[in-house]
Symmetry: C2
Subunit: 189 residues, 2 copies
Amino acid sequence: MKILKERIMKDGFIIGTKVLKVDSFLNHQIDVELFNEIGKEFKRRFSDDEVTKILTVEASGIGIACIAAQYFKVPVVFAKKHEATNLDSEVFESEVYSFTKNKNYKIRVSKQFLKKEDKVLIIDDFLANGNAAKGLISIVKQAGAEPTGVGIVIEKAFQDGRSKVEETGVRVESLAIVESMCEGNIVFK
Amino acid sequence: MKILKERIMKDGFIIGTKVLKVDSFLNHQIDVELFNEIGKEFKRRFSDDEVTKILTVEASGIGIACIAAQYFKVPVVFAKKHEATNLDSEVFESEVYSFTKNKNYKIRVSKQFLKKEDKVLIIDDFLANGNAAKGLISIVKQAGAEPTGVGIVIEKAFQDGRSKVEETGVRVESLAIVESMCEGNIVFK
């Protein structure tokens, strides 16, 4: 997706060879116009799939999922990362290790909002080690529903997330695939 | 906002006289079509104000803010609740007490994304005790920017959030104002 790659080149900030900060348009400040282009592109790539629900995880995935859902005309469900007193005790749950935060956390979805007849498109901002995506796929499968695909905005191809997700049999579509990075330069696939 | 009040009556779940769960369409599963109506209504109510940015706080505010931002044609910035290694150390910060979670947490916005020339509309899902809204107003003021208003989806008028926000001189617009609740019944203002 040309417009996205250009934006990453222009406004992305690279630290070392592994960290790509896209805070200015993707996951702290949000360029809603760009998100609309991202949403359209997800719809184009998954146009042959029946999708009844979009699933993401808080927090950065929510904006992307909501804007994309306008093109799929389906509801969004976002997995919650923390135990909240207001969340129903009847939940599907996965444990996820975050390298960014260097800790395990649980992601949870109320059983009310995923049913066995659902066809679920998983959307997230980044794919790196694949832990979050695998956790979301596990939650969809716990519900007896079908994960129809994983849509990612930025994939770090130098980490093993894609192969770990594809091992589960679910298709991955990433709008920008970073093969390598070093200060001031990004090589896209 | 009639369509919102009807939806709260139909799908809201009341616990005791203070807790209103709207997980099925607002803050766990998201009805994106309803969010578009909410976004249009915020635009109508704040149509006389110049707005250059929408500010919210993770996680439940993000979807509402992103959809609403399409009608204002401005970027969204969301305050982060947790210290993330990827967040810039140069931040505006506020401490917020959450009654729901019974603890203090910090909300932070990178100084890069709020400038003194910004006119900032604050959007959130709930207004109850007003702590989150006041924290966001403080962050806007720390930036030297102008908080043009606070747009709320559901206000609990039996808590003192509105008066606490209005004391700061900022206008509050709530799309559904709950005066009182008890099992099976909600009285709107």
